[in-house]
Symmetry: D2
Subunit: 207 residues, 4 copies
């Protein structure tokens, strides 16, 4: 069987010259992918010029198509987001808008193009909001064609109020470590199943 | 001016014979109300037989009307909830359903009956979900006629994963204490303003 | 292969002596299950005495264990809910709380007991809230061990404001029909895959 | 008393050269403001270069400070958003992030700078999501210092599935018209109250 491929879309508001706690948590997942021979890449969305809109290519130097191509060539797509006021980032919202923009495209069997891919989320914040952000992102992925395996929401948030972020405060959290492990393994397990047995094109084509 | 009155609706899943962390946090708010001469009462919703439905009185021994009367005689209504999977409790959802069941009733000026009351929330959980639960409850209150003052979401949640609840883990949290204070004072400030100057019946009657 | 089994948990606030729009939409899904030889049952949660709490059996005549047994003997679990103020019903919230109460139980391989089951949602309301309710329920199912196939949120809501409910207003809606079809087929497809190839117990056990 | 001022922040993904349904609904609110002698301005956020981040001024040509100044000189702030997958737009999320970036600034009494301002929302979509988007935005505003009057969520969404947008489908909707009226009048009523009687600086300062 060909190697599995995963792409991480990090929607931190910071470009790669700055440390991202969300990326640090993604790297924990990535370490397991490496061990299990899954090829993976982390993309910092803030490094790209993503135009506003819900078309596949908004033109005018829009760099979303590059990211879309990476999504399309991956079996596993993990969206990572920081939290502000208990919500996913504006870039996470934009990534969902842009993915949605391709949701009526079909594969050669007539299913949505995202069929047979699996999705997951990684969330970090200094406090509160991880489950709400996860629910929103996983729902969006599921609604446009992704399979959501069990326990694919790996997150860390601290106690209510200001405080340390993941790198300082969360690296030793056992709950988070357990969820990193489940996210990594369950995305691999389901992606492998779907590679071996794609979802039949019955009852789910868009025509 | 007549004394202000506040009612706390504690939607813990436990009856009063069991300790409620949400109630412990409510008591912090209540202590300030006492100091400021606001009369208040904490009601444990689980002690009552609340029938399912969205009528004012579902009959058949429905005890909601007793609670509704306490809401109607109060200037300030605080809903408190624990969290499960990042969401407010089923009883909190039911309290919102039952309040909603009276949302088309009007006062003598033709406004919704909840006009000139102020709302707030108190949330506790061992981890994550307070802001999402607060947003849901405050929105519901605002949509049926309550005024939402600034900073009326007092909450405590711990770090991601299993861990202590509010009484063991949160009593000394300064962020939570600050929010208790803002919740208590801002509900008093706005309730006082609305008592002195009720919202004019212009553009907001239900006929 | 043994027949697949599905259970629908209808969290309408009404007991079976009253018409449920959510149930009418569930019956559309059920018709496809019948055609495809999937055994199914619709349960009206309001007919049962479900105690408040998050233990598997709250005692005192708690009838949740009967429902839990039906969930455990099913391959597919569909939660259906009406909407009030844009949110799932109090009973839907309670079903999630009770399922959560068993989330640390394990199967003989050490995975959560809900592994290898697939989940979906059916939502009806006279207006607005279906996606939010779907996100909340699907997230909860995924977080406790269910697989979420693509497009398993079948819903109908009408235009903003008061108006007809599903039976009068939604039966001919093509979007809803398409989603009924995708929900039914994709739950069958994924449940079949998981029956043939259960998720390996690697990286996802709870010990 | 000096005239009241309102600012509408339209977070449509389109710049002013394109028709915005959200703006059309904002204009209904604006017509009432005009009648009642409230000065108002609609800002299309997509026309500005807003940098990612949560500082007041992200530098590098960041045009948020211009918008922040308009917010600060207004008594009423209305955020308007379209819907994608049942969620507010990425620009709405960004506006919230940027407002949040000033939430620890204080006025001369030591309260958050947004105290004594009132907030509201306007939402349009071809289907589903208005209440969830409203809850999210109103909560954020309330959490950073705004007062939320009753019934300040004016929205229109159509029936489930693809269909007309507000301008074609919603202009005659009586529910939406009623909510436009309540949003306009209640923001005026509360802003007037707060102008006459600002929230006392007791229990709510940030020091």
């Amino acid at each position: 069987m060909p190697k599995l491929k995963a792409v991480f879309l990090n929607t931190s508001l910071k470009t790669t010259d700055e440390t991202s706690h969300t990326e640090a948590l993604m790297e924990e997942v990535q370490a397991i992918y490496k061990e299990k021979d899954v090829e993976s890449e982390i993309i910092r969305i803030a490094d790209y010029k993503i135009k506003l809109g819900v078309q596949e290519d908004m033109g005018n130097g829009d760099e979303w198509p590059e990211i879309y191509d990476k999504v399309m060539s991956s079996d596993i797509v993990i969206i990572g987001t920081p939290l502000w006021l208990g919500e996913k980032s504006s870039l996470a919202t934009q990534v969902v808008e842009r993915l949605y923009g391709s949701s009526s495209k079909t594969n050669d069997k007539g299913q949505a193009v995202f069929y047979n891919k699996v999705g997951g989320v990684v969330v970090t914040g200094n406090e509160d909001g991880a489950k709400h952000a996860s629910a929103s992102i996983l729902y969006a992925l599921s609604h446009i064609g992704f399979v959501i395996p069990p326990n694919v929401d790996a997150y860390w948030v601290g106690e209510a109020g200001p405080g340390p972020s993941y790198i300082e405060g969360g690296k030793e959290n056992d709950f988070t470590k357990g969820h990193v492990r489940m996210l990594a393994y369950n995305t691999i397990h389901l992606a492998t199943m779907l590679k071996n047995t794609p979802i039949p094109a019955e009852g789910n084509t868009l025509d």
